[in-house]
Amino acid sequence: MSRIIGPLARLATLALLLALILKPDWFVPVLKPFTENGAPVIYNQGSLLSLTLYHLGLVAIASLIGTALALVMGVFVTRKVGAEFLPLSRSLVNIGQTFPPVAVLALAVPVVGFGLKPTLIALVLYGLLPIFENTITGLKEVPANVVEAARGMGLNPTQQLFRVELPLALPVILAGIRLSVVINMGTATIGSTVAAKGLGEVIIAGLLTSNTSFILQGGIIVALLAVLIYDALSILERRVARRTGRLAEVAG
C-alpha cells in the first residue's frame, strides 16, 4: 500500500508545485476570495519561475560552499594534525547552533550591506554547522578495527580516508547536508527582508499590502519546495545507508 501512496503523494505534490509556479492563473478562482478591494490575485511584481530558480540557486550555491568548507574542516579536526582543534570545534558548533539564523542574517547586514551578500554569508555560515557536526560524528563513528584493517591492507592515509572512512561516514554526513539545506531554504526566505531576491519577496509583498492571496502563494510554494527537497534528500540518504551497510559487512 504505502509503496504506491508514497510515490503518488510525491507526484501530486510536485504537480501542484509546478502548476503554482508555471500556471498561477489557474488558481485565480481559489485565491480570489482572499483579496480585498480588487487587489491583484496573482503575484505581479516578477515572474514566480525566476524567483523560484533564484531561490533554489542561492540555496544550492550556499549549500555547496558550506558542504565543502565543513567537509574540509571536519576531516582536518579528525586527523592527527588537527586533533588539538577537536574539542574547540565541537564547542563552537554547539554555540553556533544556538544563534538564531535570523540574527546571523541581521548581524551580517551592517558588515556587508543589503542584498545577496549578507544572505549568502548567513546561509553559508549557519548551514555549515550541521554538516561539520555530522562529518565529525560520522568519521568518529567509523569502527577502529575497520580503519586498522584498511591500514593492514596497505592503504595509505589518503586512501583510507577516501575509500573507507568517508564512504562509511557518508549517510551521517548526508543527514547533516539535508538539515543544512532545509535550514537554508528558510533563511533564504527571510533573506528577502534584507533585499535578497527570492520567494520571500512574495510573502513580504503580501504582508506589506495585506494581500492574503500573495502570502498564500509564496507560503505554499516555499513550503512545498522545502518538503519535496527534504523528501528527495531523505530517499538519497536511505539508498546510501543501505549501500554502506553492505559495504560495512564486507569490510568488517
Binding site: 544556538t98 538564531p100 547586514v109 551592517p110 513550503a223 522545502a226
Partner: protein, 394 residues
C-alpha cells in the same frame, strides 16, 4: 621537511599551542585593524573608523595594548588550561571596559547626536579571546553543571557594567534609552511566546509521544506528519497561519473578541507550537523506547499498575532524552519568535526588522543581542537540567 630540521624545530613547536596560534593571529589582526570603534555623526549616517590608539586616551591605549599583547603571548605558548581560562575571561573583561571609555574620549560632551559603536577590530579581538575561553572550557572538560556558575558570573558582570552606566555612551544603549519601555515589553512578549508555545507543546506532545510509543500505527502516521511540518520555512508557516485565523475571526465574533486574528500573537503562537511538537513527541518516543524491557517487567512483577509504571519508572528513565527535546524546542523557538515580528507577533524581532527597514544598525543589534543571549542562556540552563536528570537516573 628533512628529518634534521624536524628534530631541530620540535622543541619550539612543542612549546606552542596550535589553537593559541589561531587565536593570536585573529587577535593581532584585530589589534592592528584600523577601526577599533566607529564614530558616526548621527545614528543613520555611516561612520568613520577609529584605531585603538585614536579611540582611547594614551594611557588607556598603552595599558590595553600591553595587556592584550601579554594575553596573546599566553595564548600562543603551551600553558595550563586554568591560566588560559583566566586570561581569556580577563581579556574579554578588559575589552568590555575599554570600549566603554571610547565615547567620552572621542565625542565632545555637548554633542548628543554622535554615535560610537564597537567596530571590526573590537569584534575580532572579542572573538579571538572568546575562542580562547571556549577552548579552555573544552579542555578542562567542564560539564554543563560547572558552566552554570560561569553563566551566572557573566550575567553579573554584564549587569554590573550596565548598572554602572559605563556603556551608556555606546550607540546600542542610546538606542535602548529611546526604546526602554518598548524593550522590556517586547522582551516579555518574546519570552511569553517562546515559553507559551513550549508549554502547549509539552502538554499535547508528551501524551501524544506516550501514545505513539505504545501504538506503532499512530507513530507511523504522527512522526512523518510532524517531520513535514518542521520542514516548512518559518516565514511561510507564519504566512499560512494568517489565513485560517483571519477567516475564523471574520466568521466568529467570539474568536475575534478573544483576540484571535489573522495577524498578531495567535498565529505566531500556533506556528511555534506546531514547530515544537516534533522534538517533544520524537524524543518522548525515543526516550521511552530506550527504557529496558527487563526494567518494565520488574516493575510489573512488583505489582505496579500501568499508571504507576509510567510515572514512577518509564518517564523518569526517559527524562534526559525528553529534556533534550525540550532544549531543542526552546532554543529553536527563541530564534523563531524573532521572525514572528513580521506578522505583528511582537518580540525582539520588532527591533531587528525595524532596524533593517531604517538601515539603523544599532536598532538591529538592540533586537539581535538579547535574542542571542536568551537562546544561549536557555541552552546552558537546559544542558544543566539534562545532566542533573542523568545523574539522578544512575
Amino acid at each position: 621537511m628533512t628529518e634534521a630540521s624536524e628534530t631541530a624545530a620540535q622543541p619550539l613547536t612543542a612549546r606552542l599551542d596550535r589553537v593559541g596560534i589561531v587565536v593570536a593571529v585573529i587577535a593581532i589582526v584585530g589589534m592592528d585593524w584600523q577601526s577599533f570603534a566607529t564614530l558616526k555623526p548621527n545614528r543613520l549616517i555611516s561612520g568613520q573608523g577609529l584605531s585603538l590608539a585614536q579611540s582611547l586616551p594614551t594611557l588607556w591605549a598603552a595599558i590595553g595594548i600591553a595587556l592584550l599583547s601579554i594575553a596573546t603571548i599566553v595564548a600562543v605558548l603551551r600553558t595550563g588550561a586554568l591560566l588560559r581560562l583566566a586570561v581569556g575571561i580577563g581579556s574579554l573583561l578588559l575589552l568590555a571596559v575599554l570600549i566603554g571609555i571610547v565615547p567620552a574620549t572621542v565625542v565632545p560632551p555637548d554633542n548628543s547626536y554622535a554615535r560610537v559603536s564597537p567596530a571590526a577590530g573590537f569584534w575580532l579581538m572579542a572573538f579571538a579571546f572568546a575562542v580562547l575561553t571556549t577552548d579552555a572550557i573544552a579542555k578542562l572538560q567542564l560539564g554543563p553543571l560547572a558552566r552554570l556558575p560561569m553563566l551566572a558570573g557573566a550575567a553579573i558582570a554584564v549587569a554590573l557594567i550596565l548598572g554602572s552606566g559605563h556603556w551608556d555612551g555606546l550607540s546600542i544603549l542610546k538606542e535602548y534609552a529611546t526604546n526602554a519601555q518598548k524593550f522590556w515589553r517586547e522582551g516579555a512578549k518574546h519570552i511569553e511566546l517562546a515559553l507559551g508555545s513550549l508549554a502547549a507543546a509539552v502538554v499535547i506532545g508528551l501524551p501524544l509521544g506516550i501514545a505513539c510509543h505504545r501504538n506503532a500505527t499512530l507513530r507511523g502516521i504522527t512522526l512523518p506528519v510532524l517531520n513535514v511540518i518542521q520542514t516548512v520555512p518559518s516565514m511561510a508557516m507564519y504566512g499560512l497561519m494568517i489565513v485560517p485565523l483571519g477567516l475564523l475571526a471574520a466568521w466568529s465574533p467570539l474568536a475575534a473578541s478573544l483576540g484571535i486574528r489573522g495577524i498578531g500573537t495567535a498565529p505566531a503562537l500556533i506556528a511555534l507550537f506546531l514547530y515544537s511538537l516534533l522534538p517533544v513527541v520524537a524524543n518522548t518516543v525515543a526516550g521511552l523506547g530506550e527504557v529496558r524491557r527487563s526494567v518494565v517487567e520488574a516493575a510489573e512483577g512488583m505489582g505496579m499498575t500501568k499508571f504507576q509504571r509510567l510515572f514512577q519508572v518509564e518517564l523518569p528513565l526517559a527524562l534526559p532524552v525528553i529534556l533534550t527535546g525540550i532544549r531543542i524546542v526552546l532554543v529553536q523557538n527563541i530564534g523563531l519568535v524573532t521572525i514572528a515580528a513580521l506578522i505583528g507577533g511582537g518580540g525582539f524581532g520588532t527591533f531587528v526588522f525595524q532596524g533593517i527597514g531604517q538601515a539603523a544598525t544599532d536598532l538591529v543589534l538592540l533586537g539581535a543581542v538579547p535574542t542571542i543571549a536568551l537562546a544561549f542562556t536557555a541552552a546552558i540552563l537546559l544542558d544543566a537540567a539534562i545532566e542533573l536528570s542523568e545523574r539522578r537516573r544512575l
